[in-house]
C-alpha cells in the first residue's frame, strides 16, 4: 500500500506543479477547458481499451449504483472546483487553500458512519495532524 500511496502523492504533486506552468500561458478557464478536452480525447479512449482488455464487453455492464455514486463524486468534485475559484475571488488564496485542506476529516467521518470503517485513536490523531500540517503549508 505504501508504494501505491507514494505513487499517487508523487503524481498528484507533479500535476499541481504542471497546472501552475500552464497558467503562465493561459487563463484558469482556458486551462480547465484544455484539461477536460485532453481528458476526453486521451484518457477516456485509454480507459475504454483497458476496460475491454481486463473485463471484455461484460465490463461495460456497469451496476446502476456505480453510476449513481460516481455521478455524486463527479458532481461534488466539480462543485468544489468551481466554489474554489469563486472563493479565490472573495478571499485570500492562502487562507482558502489552508481552510479547505481539512476535507479528509469529512471523508473520515462519513467512512466511519456509513462504511463502518474502523479508525484507531492514533489514526484520528494522524488525520488531525495531517490537516494541521496542510493548513500550515498554505499560511
Amino acid at each position: 500500500m505504501a508504494f501505491l500511496i507514494i505513487l499517487i502523492v508523487f503524481f498528484w504533486g507533479i500535476w499541481g506543479f504542471v497546472e501552475k506552468f500552464a497558467l503562465f500561458y493561459g487563463s484558469p478557464w482556458q486551462t480547465m477547458f484544455a484539461f477536460l478536452v485532453c481528458t476526453a480525447v486521451l484518457f477516456l479512449p485509454f480507459t475504454v481499451i483497458m476496460l475491454l482488455k481486463k473485463q471484455g464487453r461484460v465490463g461495460f455492464k456497469i451496476n446502476h449504483w456505480v453510476w449513481i455514486w460516481i455521478f455524486l463524486a463527479v458532481f461534488t468534485d466539480l462543485l468544489a472546483v468551481l466554489a474554489l475559484r469563486f472563493a479565490f475571488l472573495n478571499g485570500a488564496t492562502g487562507i482558502v487553500i489552508a481552510v479547505t485542506a481539512i476535507y479528509p476529516i469529512i471523508t473520515a467521518i462519513l467512512s466511519v458512519m456509513f462504511l463502518n470503517e474502523k479508525i484507531s485513536k492514533w489514526q484520528y490523531f494522524g488525520i488531525g495532524i495531517v490537516c494541521l500540517g496542510l493548513f500550515l503549508l498554505s499560511v
Partner: protein, 141 residues
C-alpha cells in the same frame, strides 16, 4: 461569502472521497473510472465551454500550444494518480487513504521551490514536518 464557499468546498471534497469508495463497492476500478470520465465528458466539458464562452467569447478558445502541452502532461500525471487511487480505495478504507493522499501539495511545493525558485516560508517547512508526522500516525493501528 468566502466562508460559505469554503464550507461548500470542504463538504464537497469530503463527499467526493466517500462517494468514490461507495462506487467501488459495486464495481471494479476500471468501471468506476469509465463512469467518471463519461460524466466528466458529457456534463463538465459542455458546461465549462458554455461558461467560458460567456466570459471570454469565441476568442477565448484560441488557446496557446503551451497550454495544451502542459495540460497533456497534467492529464497524464493526474490520470496515473486517478487510476492508482481506485485500486487503493478498492482494498483499503477511504478515511485513511484520502488523508494520506491529501498530502500531495508537499510535492508540488518542493518542485516549485526547486524549479520555480519559489520562496518556502518557515511555517511551510514546519507544515511539511507536521504533515509527515501525521502520516506516521495514520499508519499506526
Amino acid at each position: 461569502m468566502a466562508t460559505l464557499l469554503m464550507v461548500v468546498i470542504i463538504i464537497c471534497w469530503g463527499i467526493w472521497g466517500f462517494a468514490e469508495k461507495k462506487a467501488l463497492e459495486h464495481g471494479t476500478p476500471w468501471q468506476t473510472l469509465f463512469a467518471s470520465l463519461v460524466f466528466k465528458t458529457v456534463f463538465s466539458l459542455p458546461l465549462i465551454a458554455l461558461i467560458f464562452y460567456f466570459i471570454a467569447g469565441p476568442q477565448g478558445f484560441f488557446i496557446k500550444q503551451q497550454v495544451w502541452l502542459w495540460m497533456f502532461i497534467a492529464v497524464f500525471t493526474n490520470g496515473v494518480a486517478i487510476i492508482v487511487i481506485r485500486f487503493v480505495l478498492k482494498k483499503w478504507g477511504a478515511g485513511i487513504v484520502i488523508a494520506l493522499t491529501a498530502v500531495y501539495p508537499i510535492i508540488t511545493m518542493i518542485l516549485a521551490f526547486v524549479f520555480l525558485k519559489e520562496h518556502l516560508a518557515l511555517t511551510q517547512v514546519f507544515g511539511i514536518g507536521i504533515t509527515t508526522l501525521g502520516m506516521i500516525f495514520l499508519n499506526l493501528k
